[in-house]
Symmetry: C2
Subunit: 373 residues, 2 copies
């Protein structure tokens, strides 16, 4: 992926991402109108992430819908590698997963691959991942999953249920294949190579748990697709149905293209940021689609497509009419960047105030969601 | 290891093995008289495997003895990959391990790495490894380990206690290193590379179980040393004491050099072979150190060092005076190959009759020895 101006791997997302090209490169399908109509028929409405193409591509989602229509249950599977605080970008697939859980009554397997970041980050210890796992699980629970239908587990604790199946994946996976899929080389440690086998496993757990072929739908950001491409390749070889995926764009970082990332300071809004911090980050750092002077802006209008605050509203403002009005006002020059930022601050702070309240309550619920062994 | 006339890897042992050269190549130490005296002081006697240099080299065994002298306990660790029936060669390290357990009162961790052979053998399934695990565990129990101080576990079942530590090993282990140690390449599957990390783990479990640095002594055949070389390299980097090893020669195959192997027909005596089968295998296939004619043999004498039956007696005839007499009589030509074979048949059939009786009784004891999760 070196010869273009963006990079999307599970460990590195940067540049101005061409989602059209990604869809082709990764061999996945656009979420087309027919599929969306199919969803709407079954769920009664469409989540605005679908209407706005925040979730924009998929594999086998049609088949999941067909199965659901026949009354055959499927599982949901998503995850979070615990190496730092949760930011708004992480929440997008989880919010959508919760919606799917509500609409389809599906059991959710929520993987915490604590070994992944441990293996990939030199200075990260299992003490660190344990601490972050605890913090991150609060955010996961705060999203509002059904505790009767959600199992959260750490790979290192749940390995007794995973390692055997991971070996089945591993047996069908040569080093050459991993090198070409993940861009790893012989100076990488062996755990970095093996890890993807563990990421495949929850896609097969539904079949193991139900003791009959049971499909799995994985909502995630598109950088994770490479893992599940491998999972799909291996699935039928080892006697499991292929997992379906439904893939999202990245919430942009405050200052630049690419995705929101915890590793670059002031480019991310964390779920624990207070109102003042959020306001300061957006006011100070959010890349603006406005013009250089007020006069210029009033005359030519802003560029909402380039404006990070506006982009955030597409993720966090549910009211599409209101959003359309903001788009038009900003584009016409009627609305200035400062006003747009102010609206974004309010929307995100309202969202976070609600999230933080649920996050606090989650502290008493952890064990209702966790499976340890 | 290609440029010499023998090969010793965990997956392949063949040729006329030069144990002196192996000791040098593997960087391990001879079991010298001083160490043996040290053993004798603590145990009251010396197992004939030690006297006869069947266990002939080691790493850090001295340190284990020093610790034991101070009253600090150590664990024993050995294993069996379940891909076929147990033959006499497999029993050698186990018999010696039992002796160590009896003498030092040490807890034994007995690993059944069911994923190892699954990963390395194309057609082997986990159903196969499960079946062989059951059969092999009967042989293990029949050796007579103390059920209060022995834990037998399958990697795929016990992974909840192993995978995290395996990842700690993996993080310190590059692909380059594994390629040079094990001779694997990019066409191998990723599980074949990762497996050795799991073989390291039981060496660290004593420290985890005791919650303080606790040494581990691994009795095994020398082909396994490469795994534990890696374990030793990694140990201090991840905060564990280095495991000690005590290494045995291979019981020769009936027909040729190298080691007894299940994969070549009629070169192995299995623990379930009946008296007639054993007699037939030894009479028909055991490579003879005798001369071409009786006259020639009477005149020049036989070559006990080359005679497989005689070699078997060094492993299975405890009475050293009797063994010495046989050696002298065979070497002088007084004893013919047929007589030597007859003695060997009797010794081995006596051993197996006893083993088979205990093996039968083991069927009711499996759960007393196993830890599943």
């Amino acid at each position: 992926m070196g010869f273009r101006d963006f990079t999307v791997t599970p460990w590195d997302v940067k540049g101005d991402i061409d989602y059209e090209k990604l869809t082709k490169d990764f061999g996945v399908k656009h979420l087309d109108d027919k599929t969306l109509q199919n969803v709407q028929k079954q769920t009664g409405d469409l989540h605005y992430f679908l209407k706005r193409k925040i979730f924009f591509s998929h594999m086998y989602f049609d088949e999941i819908l067909d199965e659901a229509k026949k009354g055959n249950k499927f599982y949901l599977y998503t995850g979070r590698a615990p190496s730092g605080p949760v930011h708004l970008g992480h929440l997008i697939p989880w919010i959508f997963t919760k919606w799917l859980q509500d609409k389809f009554g599906a059991t959710l397997l929520f993987q915490i691959p604590d070994e992944e970041k441990f293996l990939f980050k030199d200075n990260l210890t299992f003490n660190d991942t344990n601490r972050w796992a605890y913090e991150n699980i609060l955010d996961i629970i705060a999203v509002g999953f059904d505790q009767k239908k959600t199992k959260i587990f750490l790979d290192t604790e749940y390995a007794g249920h995973m390692y055997k199946t991971a070996c089945m994946v591993a047996k069908k996976t040569t080093m050459s294949k991993l090198k070409s899929l993940f861009g790893l080389n012989d100076s990488n440690n062996v755990g970095e190579f093996f890890y993807t086998c563990m990421q495949s496993v929850p896609a097969f757990l539904p079949t193991i748990m139900e003791d009959k072929p049971t499909r799995c739908l994985i909502p995630c950001a598109i950088d994770q697709d490479v893992h599940f491409r491998l999972t799909r390749d291996v699935a039928t070889q080892i006697g499991f149905p292929k997992p379906a995926t439904i893939l999202s764009r990245f919430l942009p970082s405050l200052t630049e293209g690419g995705k929101m990332s915890s590793s670059i300071e002031n480019t991310a809004i964390f779920t624990t940021d207070d109102e003042k911090v959020v306001k300061n980050k957006i006011m100070k750092y959010a890349f603006s689609g406005g013009r250089e002077s007020v006069e210029d802006h009033r005359q030519k209008g802003g560029v909402p497509e380039a404006d990070v605050s506006y982009q955030y509203l597409t993720y966090f403002m549910e009211d599409s009419n209101k959003l359309k009005k903001i788009y038009e006002d900003y584009k016409s020059g009627k609305m200035l960047t400062g006003e747009l930022k102010q609206i974004t601050v309010e929307v995100i702070n309202k969202f976070l105030s609600d999230h933080q309240e649920k996050r606090e309550k989650a502290k008493n619920k952890i064990e209702d969601f966790m499976v340890h062994d």
